[in-house]
Symmetry: C2
Subunit: 192 residues, 2 copies
DNA sequence: TATATTCGAGACAAGCTGTATCGTAATGAT
DNA sequence: ATCATTACGATACAGCTTGTCTCGAATATA
């Protein structure tokens, strides 16, 4: 009866996969998203061009795979002394992610591409790092008794009000929020 | 002494200029930003390719010129009965702009491009339609006596907290805010 | 008339795209 | 051991866009 637990033929090369992910990571920082090409990625990874196209259909897809894990890790905040400090810590992590981190640079590039490519938009909604991290933060402070008067129903709205201001500052003004601004946002967020 | 009030040589063709702006507007809706090319724009406008490059250096620049005036107009809100209704009206206009309007589609494409092209980022900050409109809204409600306890100093922060949530919903979740959500945002914004 | 600048049109080299094909390598089935 | 199947790196290929350059013609000023 033996069904193939492994598919037929030569197995996918893990070396090639990692080389491609690595190349994309490096090139994003070194040359920027716009200058990155599928051809350049293959050459930098020392990999056949067809091998890239076989497993990914766009540079956005590669970049997402290369940065999603880092993004989630950088946005995970360990609980502190109280709800307000937790929210402040999350907003600080969010600011650092969006303005300083390589994974954040990748996320911004992907979010940008999503604005004029529906396939990338879908892709990005499949792994909503920002939303997931924000929801985790909100669940944490709820477990502490904060936001008691706020119904669970409007969870998406809460996420938007928590993440939106910092996202706006990064995306449109290009300015990183100051610590006092972040703690102010956290205080007002919890005082609703 | 007669200094040239008009520069020497054949003057720029206004017909060609308008034809290019028109072509970009049409193509954005018909084919999307990604499919738009400088070559395609010139052909659609029935204009020489060099003529396009002579006056604009990228499709982003053309698109900004083609949509900035519409954007500013769509984000201008006439004062209503009180501060809260004014803010709600602004947020509603912002939502409609970002999710339904052609000019908003252009703005999202430009903001997206700005995330991986520094020249577009600079360009966009030169004419900050979202920020200007938000500041106008805030100045309006301040003239009504609202936000009295909030110092003028943190104006940028106010703009971010006003615009951020709706921008987040549009850009990352792709969802248009409900009217109750918008009025809730307006109420909380004024209650700080 | 002479000069200067723009116009539409198109040539041109360079680069990327996505697919196809080559011979080779690695794995499972018989 | 041999075969079938799939992935591998490498490369060729047509099609497209890019940005620059050139051409003759048009339209303005001096």
């Amino acid at each position: 009866m033996e069904q193939h637990q492994r598919p037929l033929g030569r197995p996918r090369s893990e070396d090639a996969r990692l080389a491609v992910l690595r190349a994309v990571d490096d090139m994003l920082v070194a040359e920027g998203y716009a200058a990155m090409t599928m051809k350049g990625i293959a050459e930098r990874a020392k990999v056949g061009r067809q091998t890239v196209y076989r497993w990914w259909s766009s540079k956005a897809e590669i970049l997402l795979e290369a940065s999603a894990a880092d993004a989630a890790r950088e946005l995970t905040v360990t609980p502190g002394v109280d709800a307000e400090s937790d929210v402040t810590a999350f907003l600080t992590a969010l600011r650092d992610f969006l303005t300083r981190s390589d994974a954040g640079l990748a996320y911004r590039a992907l979010l940008g591409e999503a604005q004029h490519d529906d396939r990338v938009a879908e892709l990005l909604r499949g792994t909503d790092v920002l939303g997931d991290a924000a929801r985790a933060c909100i669940a944490g402070v709820r477990a502490r008794g904060a936001l008691a008067g706020v119904p669970e129903a409007g969870a998406d709205l809460l996420v938007a009000e928590l993440v939106g201001p910092v996202l706006f500052q990064t995306l449109v003004t290009g300015r990183a929020a100051e610590p006092e601004e972040l703690s102010g946002m956290a205080r007002r967020f919890l005082a609703r």
